[in-house]
């Protein structure tokens, strides 16, 4: 018996040794501190920074990039004819030295900067832009940018349909002059040309690797060159030493890590490993509260009201939302301040379609269209509409945690006036497909500007011609459609803004939406990073930032 116990004890020691040996492999890996610190050191000495990106880029081909994720880097590899001034919505020349719009608003002439080189040394000419316009119109490329220039640019449809070999409305009288002719005056055409769809590209390079390869091997004239790209893992941007804007970019290198875990991103920032959290990665709720409450981080936060509106699109074509009184009642029944709280205060409640930083926004709405939170009034309107006992409806929303929380808040508000809402969360393209099907009573959604012009909200989201593509409320008011058509030809300026203000009022009378809130984006920036700002149109200003000794 004693022998048995001794043997068992021996076995116990043996097994513990096995476990300890397994654990000892952990200790051998604990000297990674040097590596982590080394990364920090590199960022200071070599003018290099690390940042996180919440997901890999969907596209790097400018013709295909149409989301904020890829805008972050596509605008670094390429130059459009015009761009926005830093920290402003004013359009200035980028690849174009100067530009001119004819008096009738139909001809745009661009004088290009000379000596601008692609990353491979080829010189940029007017043809470099024409080649990109052709790619946008080429059905084989399948660019989502096509609708911005076809049929507006003369000859675009013929080219797209294969009836012409050139786009007759786009010509290059000499290598440094580009002339674009459009069919009717369009107040936002310069804004369109500033979109990342339309930079200079090197056709020979694209042809040599093909469209698919070009989507992950970008090569343009921009401030940054692609040094390396590991899909789903990281991307390294290297300074374009021959960039035509002297002194830019200021850093030598930026390493972008695709980090899906927002909490880890916040920890990396706290460790000093990453330079900022801006457009590239959302600050999670708990981390945001912690940053706000911690004196060490509080002053590192920067905020920017986004040019965006979160809203509920009410299906104007189906019962009971085809009744204006019902729509107005829903507008008054939702407590938007609760939604602001659910966003940790990173939002401002709104009763308007246009966001505060968009021309046409009205500081004070007339009382008859300013649907303030008033449950009693909402009940009265519902009764007047013949729904005193309420009704049942469905609400489509995205399946994110945040969207679900907000949907539940709206659901509980509407329950109080007798409307029984069934929430239907869907993700990705299932969600947008569902919204376009127009089979839901309400769709909880948001719109972020393509460019700073009110038509990008009112015309895109509420014109009858946009049902169901972007007009998910199925709102179709011929008076509004006419007003939109007239306003679209006006040049940017007070007259145009006043026209769109008037259109907004006309729409609000019908209450096709419930505008919910305007989001406020918070960035957190290391004290040793200089030149960071949150641009009202573009993403993070990678070419403008620099580091100081720290």
């Amino acid at each position: 018996m004693a022998k048995k116990k001794t043997t068992k004890m021996g076995m116990l020691v043996l097994i513990l040794l096995l476990i300890l040996s397994a654990c000892s492999s952990n200790s051998t890996g604990t000297d990674s501190k040097g590596t982590t610190k080394g990364n920090d050191g590199e960022a200071v000495k070599g003018g290099k920074i690390n940042i996180d990106m919440s997901a890999d880029f969907s596209h790097l081909d400018p013709a295909m990039c149409y989301d904020f994720g890829c805008y972050e880097v596509v605008t670094q590899f390429y130059n459009m004819l015009v761009t926005y001034e830093p920290d402003s919505t004013k359009l200035v020349g980028s690849a174009a030295e100067e530009f001119n719009i004819s008096d009738d608003g139909l001809t745009y002439t661009f004088k290009l900067k000379k000596g601008v080189k692609f990353h491979n040394g080829t010189e940029m000419t007017a043809q470099s832009f024409i080649d990109e316009f052709k790619r946008i119109l080429d059905p084989e490329v399948g660019s989502p940018g096509k609708g911005f220039i076809d049929p507006l640019v003369i000859g675009s449809t013929d080219f797209s349909e294969g009836k012409a070999k050139e786009i007759s409305g786009i010509t290059a009288p000499d290598p440094y002059t580009l002339v674009i002719k459009i069919t009717e005056p369009q107040g936002t055409f310069l804004n369109v040309l500033a979109m990342p769809f339309f930079p200079a590209i090197d056709k020979q390079y694209v042809d040599s690797i093909g469209n698919k390869e070009f989507d992950h091997k970008p090569m343009g004239t921009g401030p940054w060159k692609l040094k390396s790209y590991n899909t789903g893992k990281d991307m390294v941007l290297e300074k374009n030493a021959d960039y035509f804007v002297a002194g830019f970019p200021k850093l030598d290198e930026i390493t972008i890590t695709f980090e899906k875990n927002a909490q880890s991103s916040a920890l990396k920032f706290k460790q000093g490993d990453t330079a900022f959290i801006g457009w590239n990665q959302l600050i999670g709720s708990s981390d945001f509260i912690q940053f706000q409450q911690d004196s060490k981080y509080k002053d590192l936060l920067q905020s920017q009201t986004l040019v965006s509106t979160y809203y509920l699109a009410l299906n104007n074509q189906v019962k009971p939302f085809d009744n204006k009184l019902v729509r107005q009642a829903v507008n008054m029944a939702i407590d938007k301040e609760k939604l602001v709280k659910l966003n940790n205060g990173r939002a401002t409640a709104t009763n308007q379609i246009l966001p505060p930083d968009m021309p046409g926004y009205q500081k004070d709405l007339p009382a008859e269209v300013d649907y303030k939170f008033n449950k009693e009034k909402a009940k009265e309107l519902l009764k007047e509409a013949g729904f005193a006992d309420g009704f049942k409806t469905t609400m489509l929303t995205t399946s994110s945690d945040q969207a679900t929380k907000e949907a539940q808040s709206i659901q509980s508000d509407l329950k109080e006036i007798g409307i029984d809402v069934e929430i239907r969360p869907l993700s990705g393209s299932s969600y947008s497909d569902g919204a376009r099907s127009l089979k839901y009573g309400m769709v909880s959604t948001a719109w972020f500007q393509d460019y700073p012009d009110p038509s990008n909200f009112l015309d895109v989201l509420l014109n009858g011609s946009e049902v169901p593509a972007n007009n998910w409320a199925a709102y179709n008011n011929p008076v509004v459609n006419d007003m939109l058509k007239k306003a679209s030809t006006l040049s940017p300026g007070q007259e145009r803004w006043a026209a769109f203000s008037e259109i907004q009022l006309e729409v609000l009378k019908d209450a096709p939406w419930v505008p919910l809130y305007t989001p406020v984006r918070y960035a957190i920036v290391q004290p040793w990073l200089k030149g960071f700002y949150q641009h009202p149109v573009w993403m993070d200003p990678l070419q403008n930032i620099s580091v100081t000794k720290h």
Partner: protein
């Protein structure tokens, strides 16, 4: 033996074809439009239809499936709808990373789980058993994401001794492997304990003791070889499962493996990548099943290969 091999390979082939058909049908049955993955949410309906045609997605689903099979037979898995990269490139880039993580996590599971199972069996109903079994229950109950975040916060952030997620270095592998291993080890502990207790009650073990064999010899030479058989079956399926991608661990530690790729492809209805990841998982299961059967044969002389 040859007939056995042919039968197994044929069976595996039929299983894989069946899985590919089911996956293809499911990918088409779920609501959503994969063309939106390519052109984005804001693209005009005209562009969407144009791209649908270019991609051949306007053809009947069975035509698309046979076209897929034809390409597959030529080793072409197609291009990802989401980022336009060849699927073979995406899979090969990530499978290596997942294999390394799976093997290291699996090793941690076994190194911790099997000795714990033995120990708790040997000390059954004693204080050592109660303590270690309780620890195993805690291990089994720990949510992977919680344990992963706990490691990241305490080991990587607070102590600063290991990187916060990522891949490419052995240091990046330690915490995800431990996370997988600790949660998974508990299963092995319970499995080995139960099996060893059953073995300990067998006549031949009593005979061995009666013949004067030491406890160490009885446990390892006579008991362990039989007691470990259920763990071998489980280990085979476990590694197959891990090889198919460990979504939560890969997401928490930002480890770019097959699990993350599968998750992303489902979110974007990226059918070629969905098909590839599902088929890869299925192949892992089929291959491991086969290996486990061979191992059975080697470990247990009562089992015949035929």
């Amino acid at each position: 033996m040859a007939a056995y091999l042919v039968r197994r390979i044929l069976g595996a082939f039929i299983v894989l074809i069946g899985i590919s058909i089911i996956t293809f049908i499911i990918a088409y049955a779920v609501p959503g439009d994969p063309v939106r993955t390519v052109v984005g949410e804001k693209a005009s309906p005209e562009v969407v239809e144009q791209v649908r045609h270019t991609m051949g997605l306007d053809r009947p689903v069975y035509v698309q499936y046979f076209s897929y099979l034809n390409r597959l037979a030529h080793g072409d898995l197609g291009f990802s709808y989401y980022n336009n990269q060849p699927v073979t490139h995406l899979i090969s880039e990530r499978f290596g990373a997942t294999a390394v993580l799976a093997l290291s996590g699996w090793a941690v599971e076994i190194i911790i789980g099997i000795p714990l199972g033995l120990l708790t069996a040997v000390y059954n109903r004693k204080i050592t058993d109660y303590i270690l079994s309780s620890l195993a229950i805690i291990g089994i109950s720990l949510p992977t994401f919680w344990l992963g975040m706990w490691f990241i916060y305490n080991i990587s952030y607070k102590m600063g001794i290991l990187p916060i997620g990522g891949s490419g270095d052995i240091k990046n592998l330690i915490l995800p492997s431990l996370t997988l291993g600790i949660v998974g080890a508990a299963y092995y502990q319970r499995l080995v304990k139960t099996s060893m207790l059953e073995v300990f009650s067998q006549d031949y073990i009593r005979t061995a003791h009666a013949n004067g064999a030491s406890s160490l010899r009885v446990t390892f030479r006579h008991g362990f070889r039989n007691g470990v058989i259920p763990a071998v079956t489980y280990a085979g399926m476990d590694i197959a499962f891990l090889m198919g991608g460990v979504v939560i661990t890969e997401t928490v530690f930002n480890y770019p493996g097959i699990g993350q790729l599968a998750m992303q492809s489902i979110q974007h209805l990226d059918v070629p990548v969905i098909m590839a990841t599902v088929l890869l998982s299925a192949i892992c299961v089929v291959v491991m099943n086969f290996i486990v059967d061979i191992l059975y044969f080697l470990i247990d002389p009562r089992i015949s290969i035929s």
